[in-house]
Amino acid sequence: MRQKVKMVILMVLCLSMIAGSTAIAETPYRTYTVDGYGYVLETQSAYNPASAITKVGETSFVTPMDMAIGNDGNLYIADAGAHVVMVSTVGGDEVRMIGEGTLQSPTGVFVSDDDKVYVADKDAKKVFVYDLEGTLLNEYGKPDSPIYGNSMDFKPIKVVANNTGTMYVICEGNMNGIVQISPVDGGSFLGYFGTNYTSLSPFQILQRLILTDAQRAQMLSNIPSTPTNLHIDEDGLIYTVTQGDKDMALKKLNIAGKNLLDSDPYWADLPAAVTTGQYHNMLVADSDGYIYEYNEEGELLFMFGGRDDGRQRIGLCNKVEAVAVDASDRIYLLDSDKRQVHIFEPTEFTNLLHEALYLFSKGRYTESKEPLEKVLQMNSMFDYANQAMGHAYLQEENYTEALRYFKLAKSADGYSDAFWEVRNIWIRNYLVAAVAAIVAASVALSLYKKRQRIKYGENGAPAYFSQRVPLLGTLRYSLHFMRHPFDGCYGVKREGRASIACANILLAAYILVSIIEKYFSGFLVKTVREGRYDIISDIGTVLVIFFGLTLCNYLVVTINEGEAFLKELYCAYAYCLTPFIVIKPFVVILSNVLTYNEVFLISFANIIVLVWMLVLLLISVKEMNNFSVKETAKALALTAFTVLILSLLICIIYVLFSQVIDFISSVLREVVYRIGS
């Protein structure tokens, strides 16, 4: 261990000599992180470009394809074009060349903990094993096991090995998975590992059902992609990256080949290589020069880098082939297009985060607070740190602070847990007072009602005013409609118990309540981002849908001998919204005091509201038009069809209209151009 530390110090020394005074420049790339909503934010530079190796000693790279860091701190670079594995210090000085004369096209290199150098040679169709001095120890060709497949070629492109010497080899053109070879008996085939699977989209399934065999043969075959690159950590977990697999580009496989990561939307588009750091952090290098750093669970911490495209700045790459991390967290990126190795140094910020990451993963939450606080001081919007702080406070039973941090981190699970505790304390403290208050309030209410009855007669104030103000009467009727829809419809149709004004008010109330629900629901059930408002489109959506449906329905029922007028339908449908208006406000209030344990109450209430409205709607259609059940069903089906046609029509008109606009603007541009010239 001491040896290792010394080595690190030595390397730090070397590097600071190389880097000289050029480390402070603004990085050529920006660094991003992701907040709790999945929103991408800028942050301090996580790693700064330090230097670049353009040559090993006097030798330039030809086609460098892979790179590994040995325990000696040296870089092992497999150069397929130079047919050799170059061993270089991090300063770019040549240590030695391995495999001169033997290697034909080394595309993968791996240095194991017991100091063996594994080289995958695509053209030699072999995996070679050397010691650090470059002496060939072993070579493994195509497995002769029948399970491997006689017709299957053996073209190893990447290789890693675990501490028992079992090799995991990615072979070109072998879709079965990673080839697992044991070193015993000159290399025995153990089977395939970490196979990628394909999935069919519903559309593809449909396609396969309809198409003929001949047509199907012409489609792109749906075969699983071979992993692009792999890595093994000290626990023997295998990490693979696969290009073209959007959902599961990065996999962390245990010894049984089971993936331990969930799908995450922040994968690299074109992952080229993967490695792990000292804190179980994972680093994925994108072929386009982006580097992604994830924590153990696969949550994105940083994303930085980018394509060089002629900018010629250190830290930007064109085609990344390999990534490696050394003992002092420096990242090495191998670029086969620029034929360089770029070296990145972690910044103070990243060092703090790594420390916190380490403590946090060990469950030492309280200790992790100190580095986390520093991280948050440097960037208070770094949500990963907010979330970790929340957990730390939760452990310390400081629930209000935990709640604050979880809310900042947008971490619903954490928030729910903390809120449960906070509510618990509140209930303990104020339960008696609250019950007393409720009792007092209900007594006061009944007293008030009594007085009202004395003043306004037996039915109380509502009935009193309803009789005198017609609008109030019709509004009050909506409550009746809600409970007695058959009777209600009769009232609307025959007795004139509804009015347009009243329907407008109900519709407005519906819009209001739906806006309140959207923006003022509790943290756990809220679906929109805090602070995001888009009222106009909220209102617009409701109006368009409501009026569209009403109109389509009216058009359909009139040609189906329905008896209802447009006005009556509008009123009846508006009345159908009453359950929403009456019940939702309570749901919204409730959502602010519930945790995930009770959140089913809200879903339950939502279902009730929905079903109630649907039932009212069905009954209204039937009763207002004096339809039979069969006719109702037919009318509804036709309405759905009409809506479809209408939306199609709107689409077509929109497309045509935009063509016209495009045409006019083209003419204008042409005119400007002609006049200009």
């Binding site: 020394l13 480390a23 402070i24 603004e26 920006r30 991408v40 250190i314 103070e348 001081q377 495009d662």
Partner: protein, 777 residues
């Protein structure tokens, strides 16, 4: 049948209607275009030719023996130190230092040494002046040397040098050039605009390179370096690069030209996020070549045509075996004119951009033949020319405040105040208690509507930060406490959502509106005011501020943005922007104290200080060393403030860099937690809370102030890097600063410098402030 007829009728009707509409559109468009083209606003060249105020140096016009030969060149001018030789057919010059015998050549005469280069590059390497020919609308321009291209060169010797008339008969174009030697060791080369002619319709001068190979060296044959003005300054060593690089440094002086839409690759992450940071730009129109072994070097200053120049510094291995550095002058350029929305376009060529080309090569020798020498020479030059005025230079810590930004709320925008006037007062009081009194502040986002409510033309203070009365009061208090309190605004950009930007906004060469994408949520894009309008806006603002007694203003963007644009259908060059901006800044500086954000050289004289001074270079793969060239030029003359310390991920190194460059520290502060800003356009400010930075401000203040006391009002005399890696900065009052960036203790002279620290030495006595406050961790 009837229905069909009807259809036909309606169809015809529609067509007629369509034609009518089109006709109207065309007529209106023609009318609009015609009315605009008659506009008065285009400036002509004569207005722009501000006389080049050359330093007072006598022309070396003594008679010389023109028959004296050197490598096929004959002598044309000489003074006590330098001789100028010329080889007429190629306009190749050799500059010889008489005292040391060192020479610098401007071409490669020796065919054998040329190596495997193609004809084009051969012509380039062997010509004193190279023209890039713009044929038709080809986007690739063809290089024309002198000897191999059929060019005719007629040389006439004039006192102090020569005049050459260069004609390209095949291409029907030509120009004259004049080269003169002065007694102060400088050589000027100029190509006046009036001498340029282009008779063919389809052949134009694209770029002109003036003495592209002056001071060239082959592979690693000479010790020395090329100096490029990238950021604060950078060097490219003249060692053998062994073919590592296939291109070199190319940058436009004063930054890129948004008006021509120079092609660049925009690679967005996930199709949405811009992941690249721009490279540092060239703030001063200079470049240099030093042969340290021969103790000879020059600094080239582009005296005229700087705004259209690009600097090329090419190490060996890229294109040829030679190291060369030069400026190329753009005389016309191509741009893409879109003709339809679906991607249709044609390539067009601009008219000739009219300006004189004038480059001054100032030679240095002996001890001055290094980058410090070049910087000192440049400093003298600027002071002599009055382009730099010495301002009292006393240490101040820069504390900028962000007042208010806005976020979307319901249908409107909601104010998000993060630092009110009262907050600032409180912070000042708190700092005063700790002894922090020398402060300079820029207040950003003080205007109604927040920091991005642009343009600002009145003293309309946001209510959310305390209103106009309170802000004025604060400024009075600052005046008494000797705090420099500047109101910040953006001189160039306009917000399409908060102001009327229908007129007077910048249209690119393709006559499309220029829009700058913010990649943010509240305001998605900005446009630029035309320089004419900027001038007008600034004048209005100035008057309105003066009425309220405000006399300090800080401007961003205007100091480092130049572009080609169109007005009506006339091209307005970068020279026009430069002229109008300079006018605006001159007028502003006459009435107010002016602070500029990273301004280019031509505006330095108007500023009381420079903020956001680049502290380093852009870290290109082919640059070998970063040097504080601009710091050496400006230290002790004009106060410089750096970028914000907040966003530095490596604080300790940044601190040392401030010590090395003499740049004063800057902090961006808010009183509230910056998480308030997450939904505003200022969401990139992720760390700024005062309470977080309080300790750091105190530390930086106390320590840097002590160093600044030692070096107060003195200039940097020498800057060197020892073999051990220690950087030694010597001031002209004898103070020496030793800086160690490495993680280990280092020795230099007889001084031991602790790891990541520095030592100051006054009159050979080590002072006690060495690195005491540098943070551990």
């Amino acid at each position: 049948m009837e229905a069909k007829v009807d259809m036909k009728k309606t169809g015809k009707g529609l067509i007629k209607f369509g034609i009518a509409v089109l006709a109207i559109i065309v007529i209106v468009a023609v009318a609009v275009a015609a009315s605009k083209s008659g506009g008065k606003d285009s400036l002509n060249v004569s207005e722009l030719q501000t006389a080049v105020n050359a330093p007072e140096a006598a022309l070396s016009d003594g008679a010389v023996d023109t028959s004296r030969q050197l490598d096929g060149h004959h002598l044309v001018a000489a003074n006590d130190t330098y001789e100028l030789y010329l080889y007429e057919p190629a306009l190749s010059i050799i500059v010889k230092n008489i005292k040391t015998g060192a020479v610098m050549e401007s071409t490669v005469r020796d065919e054998e040494r040329l190596g495997n280069v193609n004809e084009t590059w051969k012509g380039f390497l062997q010509s004193g002046i190279v023209v890039e020919l713009q044929e038709e609308t080809n986007t690739m321009q063809k290089k024309l040397g002198l000897e191999g291209s059929g060019a005719q060169v007629n040389v006439e010797l004039i006192p102090g040098g020569f005049r050459a008339k260069v004609d390209y008969p095949t291409q029907e174009l030509g120009f004259e050039t004049e080269v003169k030697l002065y007694d102060d060791g400088s050589i000027t080369a100029c190509i006046p605009e009036r001498s340029i002619y282009e008779h063919a319709d389809n052949k134009k001068i694209g770029n002109i390179y003036v003495f592209p190979l002056l001071g060239n060296s082959r592979l690693g044959e000479k010790d020395g370096y090329m100096f490029v003005p990238d950021g604060n300054g950078a060097l490219i060593y003249l060692d053998d690069k062994e073919g590592r690089f296939d291109s070199g440094y190319v940058q436009k002086v004063y930054g890129s030209d948004i008006g021509v839409g120079e092609s660049y690759v925009l690679s967005l992450l996930w199709g949405r996020y811009e992941t690249h940071n721009d490279a540092e730009m060239i703030l001063a129109p200079v470049y240099g070549m030093v042969h340290t072994g021969d103790e000879m070097g020059y600094l080239a200053v582009i005296e005229s045509g700087d705004e259209e120049a690009s600097i090329y510094a090419t190490p060996n291995g890229a294109y040829s075996d030679y190291n060369w550095i030069t400026a190329a002058f753009r005389k016309c350029t191509t741009y893409i004119q879109p003709t339809s929305n679906s991607g249709g376009s044609v390539t067009k060529v601009t008219d000739r951009i009219k300006y004189d080309i004038n480059v001054r090569y100032m030679f240095v020798d002996g001890e001055d033949a290094d980058y410090t020498g070049l910087a000192k020479r440049y400093r003298e030059y600027l002071l002599e020319k009055d382009e730099l005025v010495r301002v009292e230079d006393s240490f101040k810590v820069r504390l900028d405040f962000l007042g208010l930004d806005v976020e979307n709320w319901m249908l409107w925008k909601k104010d998000v105040p993060v630092t009110t006037v009262d907050n600032i007062r409180e912070m000042y009081a708190d700092l005063e208690k700790e002894g922090v009194t020398d402060i300079l502040s820029l207040y950003k986002g003080w205007q109604d509507g927040g920091i991005y409510d642009l343009p600002v033309t009145t003293y309309d203070v946001a209510g959310g930060i305390g209103g106009a009365g309170d802000l004025s009061k604060l400024m009075d208090e600052c005046e008494q406490k000797n705090i420099d309190f500047y109101l910040f605004t953006d001189g160039v950009r306009a917000n399409t959502e908060t102001g009327n930007t229908t007129f007077d906004t910048v249209k690119k060469m393709d006559k499309r509106l220029y829009t700058q994408n913010t990649y943010q949520n509240v305001y998605r894009e900005f446009v630029y005011w035309t320089p004419q309008k900027t001038l007008e806006n600034l004048n209005t603002l100035q008057k309105n501020l003066a009425k309220k007694g405000v006399n300090k203003i800080a401007l961003s963007v205007i100091g480092n943005t130049l572009f080609t644009y169109t007005m009506g259908d006339t091209m307005q060059t970068r020279g026009v922007s430069k002229y109008l901006y300079e006018e605006a800044l001159r007028q502003t500086s006459e009435n107010m104290d002016l602070m500029l954000e990273a301004p280019v050289e031509c505006y330095w004289q108007y500023a009381k200080a420079i903020v956001d001074m680049p502290i380093d270079d852009s870290d290109y793969i082919y640059t070998d060393q970063s040097v504080p060239f601009l710091s050496i030029v400006l230290k002790g003359i004009l106060p410089m403030y750096g970028d914000y310390v907040n966003f530095e991920a490596n604080e300790r190194e940044y601190f040392l860099k401030l010590v090395e460059t003499g740049i004063y520290p800057s902090f961006y502060l808010t009183y509230e937690n910056p998480s308030e800003l997450i939904y505003t356009n200022s969401s990139h400010v992720y760390t700024s809370q005062y309470t977080v930075y309080r300790e750091q401000i105190l530390r930086y203040y106390n320590e840097l102030r002590q160093i600044s006391e030692l070096t107060k009002n003195s200039m940097i005399d020498e800057h060197e890097i020892t073999d051990t890696g220690v950087i030694i900065v010597t001031y002209d009052n004898g103070v020496k600063l030793y800086i160690n960036y490495s993680d280990a203790e280092l020795k230099a002279d007889d001084v031991t410098v602790p790891a990541l620290s520095y030592v100051a030495r006054v009159n050979n006595e080590l002072t006690g402030i060495a690195g005491m406050g540098v943070d551990e961790g």
